[in-house]
Amino acid sequence: MGTAAYLWSVRSQMAQGLVITLEATGAGMAIALTVGLGIAVIRVLKLPGLSQVARFYILFFRNTPLLVQLYVWYYVLPQYGIVLSAFLVGVVGLGIQFSAYTAEVYRAGLEQVPRGQWEAGSALGLRTAAILRSIIIPQAFRPIVPGLGNYLISMFKDSAYLSVVTVFELLGTTEQLAASSFRYTALFTLLGVIYFSLSYPASVCVRVLERRAARGRQNALRS
């Protein structure tokens, strides 16, 4: 079978792998966005004790390899009685790792909101939680969208790590197919093409968003 014919014949398996990749990315991002927001809020509110824990959390998960983190989740969770599927373990690992990054993005966004907004909120008699929810966070959100978008793309690419904990996403599927057919070159090149063709346009979009956000900020300063 020629290379092209072979690649065409495995398209359904590759498509399945891609679906799992996208699912893992989406679920991981959901975790990263929620956990990261919590961590960022803790840091911005400068809660005693918890703030330090948050700072250490971010430093720890940024400085340690995702691969080892995944191993830890895979082996440690069952010991505490949490038995999850390999897919969920991977998603948790991805989500927690990227929550350290999204927390920093959120923090930058939250700190950019002018101090006056906080004061206006408390002058209206709102409690901190309400100020955050109704005033600060909505204003913080727009400028950080490109940053979060970048991490979404990174997570899509790093979903490949899940192949190490027996999840058959794109890389795992490719390895499996290559091991049985020995067509390493064709399969791995196709793998690279798939990742590139999805991540590069997305990163171009994010760059456009960045430029628009920067222009918006300049216009706001001018008016």
């Binding site: 080892v68 890389l171 791995f188």
Partner: protein, 224 residues
């Protein structure tokens, strides 16, 4: 886990390969970053384009995918390297691509007047870049360089997947053999990587202090 000579020996071998791989990858990545970063602000569209192809190509997939590709495909097209060399090569190219973005951004952040000043003194474009613009750009690059250096450290754990006996693979083997339990072993491994990252951060902080003397008011610094 008994700290038998076997365990100690394995751990030291693992540590050695981790450190060596990190250092070699950085030695490859940072020179590439400067070269590619400078090429990316070249006047020639072809040069800029080639550099862009390199950077965007590497950034298109994650390092684990590129490592597997290099490990499986390169031998089939005749390029046979030992696993450590392949790993260092891939990590260096990946780190170089990301760090070159920092170089490019920092060079572009230097005020246009500095470029013009150099050219008006009839310095060649390369002299202008190297002796006027680049030194002013360096403090801006360093934070991202720190991230790239730590990414190199984290990347060495990937080399465990291509049969390099660095720390992660050592932990794999010790766990498989039964000398240590996987959960506590990998937990300890995380702590070890964290501790290894601290000197990198300290070193970068020292470097930032040292290059602070090149900090000029002609650089648009991002409001942190």
């Amino acid at each position: 886990m008994r700290l038998s000579p076997y365990v100690i020996h394995s751990a030291l071998v693992g540590l050695y390969y981790t450190v060596i791989a990190t250092v070699l990858s950085c030695c490859l990545a940072f020179p590439i970053a400067f070269i590619v970063g400078i090429l990316r602000v070249s006047r020639s569209r072809t040069v800029r384009g080639c550099a862009m192809v390199y950077v965007e190509g590497i950034r298109g997939a994650s390092p684990i995918v590129e490592l597997y590709w290099a490990f499986f495909v390169l031998p089939l097209i005749g390029i046979r390297f030992p696993p450590l060399e392949v790993g260092v090569l891939v990590l260096g190219l990946v780190g170089g691509a990301y760090a070159s973005e920092a170089v490019r951004g920092a060079l572009l952040a230097v005020d246009r007047g500095q470029w013009e000043a150099g050219l008006s003194l009839s310095m060649s474009r390369s002299s202008t870049v190297l002796r006027i613009v680049l030194p002013q750009a360096i403090p801006t690059m360093l934070p991202i360089f720190q991230n790239v250096a730590i990414d190199m450290l984290k990347g060495t754990s990937l080399l465990s997947l291509v049969t390099v006996t660095e720390l992660t693979r050592t932990a794999n083997e010790l766990g498989t053999v039964g000398v240590m339990s996987f959960s506590s072993g990998y937990g300890a491994l995380l702590v070890i990587y964290f501790l290894l990252s601290l000197p990198i951060m300290a070193g970068m902080a020292k470097l930032e202090k040292y290059t602070a003397r090149y900090q000029s008011k002609f650089v648009r610094r991002p409001r942190s």
